[in-house]
């Protein structure tokens, strides 16, 4: 069964799409960046937990395989359509009122920097119902609070079906907090993304 009509409409209306992923999300994220079309007509932001690596392996691997133009966020980058941004390691990524990113090196949140909560909350403040957020596999609670803020501000929020995630804790936390509009399996997520 395909995604329901309401979900489809909200997805198509979204201008900013945020993906949060942690442990166990690599495979699905890799497929996402490979499958998303070059001209999606949206701004895509990836917040992925990772060790502050010095060699930017994920960034390189992703940008070599993505169809959409991909860029690691630098301070004061302007959010553009048809661009996929990846939050840099060892910084929090915030979104400013004027439609640009700012970075922050303050304390980790949920032991994580980048923290998904920080970016989600900031997106909720600035873009509210123009956002869609998808929270994927992970082993901690980061992202749940931020996704709730997004949902409260009218954004479309989707948690990966925990039973379908390599690490269920992260999407489950969001679901338990009442932050998810929809709970979708990987296949359902892909049907939506490519609809």
């Amino acid at each position: 069964m395909g995604p329901d009509k309401k979900l489809l409409e909200r997805w198509h209306d979204a201008q900013i799409v945020l993906f949060g992923g942690s442990a166990g999300s690599f495979k699905i994220l890799f497929r996402i960046i490979k499958d998303l079309p070059e001209k999606l007509g949206k701004t895509v932001i990836l917040i992925i937990h990772r060790k502050k690596n010095f060699f930017s392996e994920i960034e390189k691997l992703f940008s070599e395989n993505s169809r959409m133009y991909m860029r690691e966020i630098e301070d004061k980058d302007i959010l553009k359509t048809n661009t996929m941004y990846i939050a840099p390691a060892n910084y929090h990524t915030l979104i400013e009122d004027g439609g640009y990113f700012s970075l922050d090196v303050s304390e980790p949140v949920w032991y994580s920097k980048p923290s998904i909560d920080v970016t989600f909350e900031s997106a909720a403040e600035v873009y509210g119902n123009k956002c869609a957020a998808i929270l994927l596999s992970g082993a901690n609670q980061d992202g749940a609070g931020g996704m709730l803020k997004l949902r409260e501000s009218g954004a479309l929020t989707i948690a990966q079906e925990p039973a379908d995630a390599e690490m269920p804790e992260m999407p489950r936390s969001a679901i338990n907090l009442g932050a998810a509009d929809y709970i979708l399996t990987q296949d359902e997520i892909f049907k939506l993304l490519l609809s």
């Binding site: 630098e74 301070d75 090196v105 303050s106 923290s115 920080v118």
Partner: protein, 276 residues
């Protein structure tokens, strides 16, 4: 957790900025708002303050302000953060510095001093220790007090061991410290060539001439118009062909300054002053 946002409105943030400027003389109007708001929210949560409580103490309790200043500015720092940056300095800037009789370096926004001592270690290993002097400045007197001490928790220092290793410097980071129980104190020979002092990038001016200025992960908190003002200060504070190092995600965006600073290392954002 400090994840809550939106407790205060943008108008209230503006009100606090005005109070801090009028009462304490610090101008935060050029700071990026999302981060500032997050810090203010955090201060309110830590103190269990409503907006009006915060307003009240900012106006009436002068002792509160020092702690406020410490919380509002981000003082998270590491030794040898971004090891590839230190590698690049070693390869591309040190040869230039070594041509000088005396080397003066300014670490702007030095917080608790970790970067100053990282640079001191690097220069010492390069054989420039005796002839170089590093000035560390910050707006915050409390963090400077910590910086001057040069004493860190052993646990923290050990957490920088991996960074140190990636810089390619010989030995290990603890070689540069005297360890006593759970404290690590930076060696005196490294400390004696440093000076820590208050300097406000927003309101203070040129105070010396430097061969190198390092200002890393400070611009991320500033709007671009303020970055430009400070770039001008740096330009004036550098000797001809002096080097400017920004954070690895901070670039010079303004066209007028792009022509005044030549890119030496694009990835690490190391620039060289050109023209006069």
């Amino acid at each position: 957790m400090d994840t809550a946002q939106g407790i205060i409105s943008n108008a209230q943030v503006q009100e606090l900025i005005d109070i801090v400027r009028k009462v304490h003389g610090f101008d935060f109007s050029g700071y990026t708002k999302a981060s500032l708001k997050r810090r203010l929210t955090r201060i309110m949560l830590l103190n269990k303050f409503e907006f009006y409580d915060l307003k009240h103490v900012l106006i009436n309790d002068s002792d509160f302000f020092q702690g406020f200043l410490e919380e509002i500015t981000v003082n998270v720092t590491e030794m040898f953060r971004d090891p590839s940056f230190y590698k690049a300095v070693n390869a591309q800037v040190v040869p230039y510095l070594s041509t000088y009789q005396h080397v003066k370096i300014w670490s702007a926004g030095c917080s608790t001093g970790e970067e100053v001592y990282s640079m001191a270690i690097l220069l010492n290993e390069a054989g420039l220790g005796k002839k170089s002097f590093i000035y560390g400045t910050d707006i915050n007197t409390e963090v400077l007090r910590e910086a001057r001490k040069g004493i860190y928790s052993l646990r923290n220092i050990k957490s920088y061991a991996e960074n140190y290793q990636y810089t390619g410097l010989k030995g290990s980071i603890t070689d540069h410290f005297t360890i006593l129980y759970d404290a690590a104190s930076i060696h005196n020979e490294l400390k004696q060539n440093t000076l820590f002092s208050v300097h406000n990038l927003i309101s203070d001016t040129v105070f010396n001439e430097f061969q190198m200025i390092s200002c890393r992960n400070v611009f991320i908190y500033f709007e671009t118009f303020l970055q430009e003002r400070i770039l001008d200060l740096f330009y004036k504070s550098l000797c001809p062909l002096g080097y400017l190092c920004l954070g690895s995600k901070e670039t010079i965006r303004s066209d007028s300054f792009k022509s005044k600073f030549k890119v030496i290392n694009q990835k690490e954002n190391i620039y060289q002053k050109v023209g006069t």
